[in-house]
Assembly symmetry: C2
C-alpha cells in the first residue's frame, strides 16, 4: 500500500482512517448485510446515518436551531443561482465582494435573476489581496463573499460587518478549517469535495427565516424550502457522499474538533509560508495578512522550472501540485486531511529542488 501526499485543490485528500472504514464497511454496513450505496434513503439505517452527519456538523460548527442544514447536489456552481433565486425577496439585488474567479462566477449568475453590485474588488491586482473597504448598500437582499479563494490563495481573516443585511459566504475551500461564529452569517455554503468528503454533496447552512421567499417559477429542486421541509429527503440525496462526510465529521470530532484542526492548520501553513518567505526560488505573491491557510499558490522563476518541479515532485510522491490553469505555477492545497508530515515532506523537497536548480 503506497499512498502519496495529494495536494489537489479538490476533490482532495481524505483521512486515511476514513477511507479504511469506508472500505471495511463497503459490502456490509453495521450488520445490515448491504452497502450504504445500496440502502433506501428512507431506511432506518440510512436515517441514522444522515441524522448523525447533521448532528456532528452542528456540533463541530456550533450551529444552533435557528439554522437549517441542507444536504443538496450540484456544487457551489448550483448555489450561485439558488442563492439569488431564493434570497432575492425584496430588492432583487445583492452586494458582492469580488475576490477572485469563484466570486466572479457568483456575480455573473446572480445577474440572471436581478442586480449584482460589486461593493469591492481586488481584481486591480490580480486578486492577490482581500479588500478592506466596501461600498455596501442597505438596499440589498444580501452581501456575498468568497471566504477562501481556492485559486488565488487568499482568505478573509475577519468578516465584513453587514448589520441587518444577511451575509452569505462560499466557504467551499475552508469550511471547518478554523473556528468562526456561524451567527454572523445568513447563509454558508460549501461543496464537500475539499474539507468534508467526496464530490457530489453540497452543504447549505441557512438561517431558517430566510427560507420560503424564492422567486416565482423557481424549480422545485432549487428551492431551499423543498429541502428544508423534507430534511434533505425530498428526493434521493447523494447518500454515499453524506455517509463519507459523516465519517470525516467523526474523525474531526474524535480529534478534538475545529479548535484542534485550526491549530494544526496554522502550523502547516506556517511551515510552508515560512519557507516561501526565505526561499530565493519560490514566490507566493499574496498579500501576507490575507494568505489562505488552505491553498498556497507559488511559482518558480521560469515555466521550465515549474514543469520540472511538478514532474519531480510527482515522482517523489508529492502529487497534484500543478496550479490552476488560470493562475499557472504550482499550488499546494493543505486541507484538514493533509497531515503535518506531508507539508514537511513538501518543504524538504522544495529545499532540495532549490539547491539542485540554483
Amino acid at each position: 500500500m503506497n499512498r502519496v501526499y495529494n495536494f489537489s485543490a479538490g476533490p482532495s485528500i481524505l483521512p486515511e482512517s476514513v477511507l479504511a472504514k469506508a472500505a471495511e464497511e463497503m459490502l456490509n454496513y453495521n450488520g445490515t448485510g448491504m452497502s450504504v450505496m445500496e440502502m433506501s434513503h428512507r431506511s432506518k439505517a440510512y436515517t441514522s446515518i444522515i441524522e448523525n452527519a447533521e448532528s456532528l456538523l452542528r456540533k463541530l460548527m456550533k450551529i444552533d436551531d435557528s439554522y437549517s442544514i441542507l444536504f443538496v447536489q450540484g456544487g457551489a456552481s448550483t448555489q450561485f443561482s439558488m442563492i439569488p433565486m431564493n434570497l432575492f425577496s425584496k430588492y432583487k439585488k445583492a452586494d458582492f465582494i469580488n475576490t477572485g474567479n469563484w466570486s466572479k462566477k457568483a456575480i455573473s449568475e446572480a445577474k440572471l435573476f436581478g442586480a449584482a453590485n460589486v461593493a469591492a474588488s481586488s481584481e486591480d491586482s490580480n486578486f492577490t489581496y482581500i479588500p478592506e473597504e466596501y461600498n455596501l448598500s442597505q438596499e440589498v437582499d444580501y452581501v456575498h463573499i468568497t471566504s477562501n479563494n481556492t485559486l488565488e490563495g487568499t482568505r478573509f481573516v475577519t468578516f465584513p460587518d453587514t448589520g441587518n443585511v444577511p451575509l452569505v459566504a462560499d466557504m467551499s475551500s475552508e469550511i471547518m478549517s478554523r473556528e468562526m461564529d456561524v451567527n454572523k452569517f445568513g447563509l454558508i455554503y460549501a461543496g464537500a469535495q475539499k474539507n468534508l468528503g467526496p464530490a457530489g454533496l453540497t452543504i447549505v447552512i441557512v438561517k431558517t427565516d430566510l427560507i420560503g421567499k424564492h422567486l416565482e417559477n423557481t424549480p422545485t429542486m432549487l428551492r431551499y424550502e423543498t429541502h428544508a421541509k423534507e430534511k434533505s429527503l425530498y428526493n434521493t440525496p447523494p447518500c454515499y457522499s453524506i455517509y463519507v462526510a459523516g465519517l470525516v465529521f467523526k474523525w474531526l470530532d474524535d480529534m478534538g474538533g475545529v479548535k484542534t484542526i485550526e491549530k494544526i492548520n496554522n502550523e502547516k501553513a506556517a511551515i510552508l509560508y515560512n519557507f516561501l518567505d526565505e526561499s530565493k526560488m519560490f514566490l507566493n505573491k499574496v498579500n501576507r495578512k490575507d494568505r489562505s491557510l488552505m491553498n498556497v499558490p507559488f511559482t518558480a522563476p521560469t515555466d521550465e522550472l515549474n514543469e520540472k518541479f511538478i514532474k519531480e515532485a510527482e515522482q517523489a510522491g508529492l502529487c497534484t501540485l500543478r496550479g490552476h490553469r488560470l493562475i499557472g505555477g504550482m499550488r499546494a492545497s493543505i486541507y484538514n486531511a493533509m497531515p503535518v508530515e506531508g507539508v514537511i515532506k513538501l518543504v524538504d523537497f522544495m529545499k532540495k529542488f532549490e539547491l539542485e536548480n540554483k
Copy 2:
C-alpha cells in the same frame, strides 16, 4: 460476511463484485496512491475513468455520436425542470402520458415553464395499466413518458410513435434492463441509483441537436449546453458515483451486455409473476401485459398479513420489501443486480408464508 437479498426500489442492490472491487481500490486506485474520491476531476487517472464510463455506456446501449451523454447531479427530479427549461424552444408546450406518481411530478414541474398537455392517463384506474390511445398534438416541443413506473409496477412494452416530435423518457428504474432502440428518443434520463450505481448521479442521453435552445435566464448549471460543451466537467461532477457506475457497466459488458441481462430479467420476472398468478394469498393488480420487469408490487389480503410478511421476510434475509407509502403492501424490485437465486428465495419464502398463514 452475511449479505442479504435487498429488494429496495432505490438506492438498490449492486453487483457484489463491483462493491468488492470498489473496496479493494478504496485507498489506492490503480497504483495512483490515492482513492478515486480524492482525485482531481481533471487528473489523467480520472479522465480515463469518466471517458471509459461514457464509452461503455455508449457500447451497452448502442448510442451513436448524434447523442450527447451528460453525467449530472440532482436526480430525475431536477430533470423534471431541466427538460422544459431546455426543450421549450418553440411551442413552450409538451404532451405527457400520465402513468403514475413520477409522471405527475414531471407534469407539474413543466407547468412552471409552459404548458403541459396530458395526452393520455391511467389515473382512472390507479395507474394499473399503460394507456394505448394517446391524444398527441403536433404543436408541442416534446412528448414525455415514464417508461417504467417504479411505484405502480408498470412499463411501456412498446413506445409511442411521435413522428418528428422528440420523445423524452424517464427510464430511471429500467435503464439498461432490456434492449431498446435509443434512436427513437430525443432524450432519455435516469437517476443512477436503481440500475446503474450509487445515488447522486443522473445520466442524460440527449440528441445533440436539441441542445442550446434553453429558455432565457436558465441557470448555467441547468443548461444542457453547459455540460455538453465541457463533457460533464464544467464543475466537479459526482466523481465517485461515476466511477462505480463505470464498474457496473463493465460488470454488465463482461456478462454479455443488455441482451444477456434482458434474458435474465425476463426469467426473474417470470418466476415471480407466475407464482403471483397461482397464489391464493398474494395479488399483483397490474394489467398483465403492462407488468414491469423491475418493480413488482403485491399485497396480502390484510394489512396485518402485509406487516407480518415484511417483518418475517426481513428476518429471513429478504430485505426492503415494504411497498411505497403511496401504494402500501409489498414491492419487490428485481433490478439487474438481483441474482435469480434472490427471486427464487423470495418465492420460496412467499410459498411458505402462504402455507403457514392460510
